[in-house]
């Protein structure tokens, strides 16, 4: 009888998913942001953000190498608080959003570090895919507003010229851009 009860408990646990090693989170658009900044004439920073972002991450706390992260940014949603500049940025001199509508990150390897996770993956922008490694700081799960939530923050420095951006447009706006990702995930 005890053996049957144990078996039943295992079956029920499997059915409810409570024994699953990985937790799957949806990107929480309301409490997340993907911003960027680039030098303007090497005297100041131009800052902006992408308003339409989606993603998923699966965290396996027992075996972090099985965790996965993915992020998809709609390039068309670029927002620098200046409608004319945003239109300019959408054109082929910059993001060419009709040709390259999304900016994507896909993880390929994950390992735990004291601050969170070190995630290696591919970053695709403007039709060019490059390997990058992100240091995701965070990862502590809390329960709030009826959902289990986890959050990460990271910064990614990249050169626009590496992603085949028009070199004629590099000068007044610096080649290097910093992408700042603060994302929260949620699950039931």
């Amino acid at each position: 009888m005890p053996r049957f009860s144990a078996l039943l408990a295992i079956v029920l646990a499997l059915a409810t998913g409570s024994l699953r090693a990985a937790d799957d989170y949806d990107y929480d658009l309301v409490h997340s942001s993907v911003g960027f900044k680039a030098r303007f004439l090497d005297i100041s920073w131009i800052q902006g953000r992408f308003n339409d972002v989606s993603g998923k991450f699966s965290l396996d706390r027992q075996d972090p190498s099985k965790s996965t992260f993915s992020l998809t940014i709609k390039a068309d949603s670029v927002d620098t608080a200046n409608a004319a500049r945003d239109e300019h940025l959408r054109q082929p001199d910059y993001f060419d959003t009709k040709q390259f509508p999304t900016i994507e990150f896909r993880s390929t390897a994950v390992k735990a570090i004291p601050e969170g996770y070190e995630v290696a993956g591919t970053f695709t922008m403007h039709g060019v895919t490059k390997p990058v490694t992100l240091k995701l700081v965070g990862g502590k799960e809390i329960e709030a507003m009826g959902k289990k939530r986890v959050g990460f923050g990271t910064e990614l420095k990249l050169k626009r010229s590496d992603f085949n951006f028009d070199k004629g447009q590099i000068g007044n706006i610096g080649d290097e851009a910093i992408i700042v990702i603060d994302c929260a995930g949620q699950r039931d």
Partner: protein, 335 residues
Amino acid sequence: MVVRAVLGAFAVAAALGAVGAGISRRQPALAAVAAIVAFVWGVVAGLCLLRALPSLPPTTGLDRYLVILLPVALAIEVEAAANWIGGFWLTAERGCVALLAVPVLLHGSVWLEGGTPAVVILAAALFLWASWEGITGDVRSSGDRVVAVVTVGALVVAGLSIALAGWLKGGLVALPLAGALAGALLADWGGGPTRGRSGCGEVWGTPGLPGLTAVGLVALFGLVVVGRCFGRLGSAAALLILLAPLLAVLPLGIGRMLPDSAGQRLLRSARYRILLALVPLVIVVIVAKADFDTRLGRLVGEIPPPGPVVVAVSPSADPFKLSRTPGSASRRVRS
């Protein structure tokens, strides 16, 4: 850099065209091929000077325009000029290119993946094929130079409009194309009129004129499509630009149908047809400039250069006075 690119394209095309016309004075077919080759080298020189050579493999609409559409159109016109093909096969080749032009230019973009209606693509293909086949055939038989001149103007206007709408590189690329076409046409006309057989029939006028006109029309069509779909060239502006070469040739056709009269002579006069074609082009430029002034003009304002700035603390009422180092001059910048 832009002026140098346009002048370079013009000079290379004109020089090579003149050499080609001189060498092949008694061979119209060879002279026609030489005119197209001169245009090609003019474009290459212009794009090099502009530092706007396409990337390989082509990934953007502009790359596919420069690497696929234009070379294929040039190859067909070389075939036609050299009498390698003619009649049905020439028409069929042009038809195939016209049918594939828009899908190739928009390959991999949201326009095709989002499901642009097939009827739009077919209408664009039909327009390109009809204007390519019809106008080139008319130029071949009449030796009319007006369409070629208007096409050069339309290329310039398309380029300016695309650049003013915010896609600088896309717009500037048009200018060496226009320069090379003007140079090749000038050299071709300098060679003097000939009469002979080339392509699909008897040729009047200068030997390179039909091929150069055809290439100019395809170049204009492709540029307008990429400017409309990837840049911010409006639909109305795109249509008006494409309409200009038609306005240069339509009165000629109407005039031929009328009995000899003052009206008929007016319709056939080059000056009248150029003026008629210029109307939509001028409208497009005015609207593009006004749109630029209201939208992007503020992003391209005069601002201080990134020279060293000294913060001087003085006991006056203005404690923090910004002073600029001598010799710094303001310059125009983009966003």
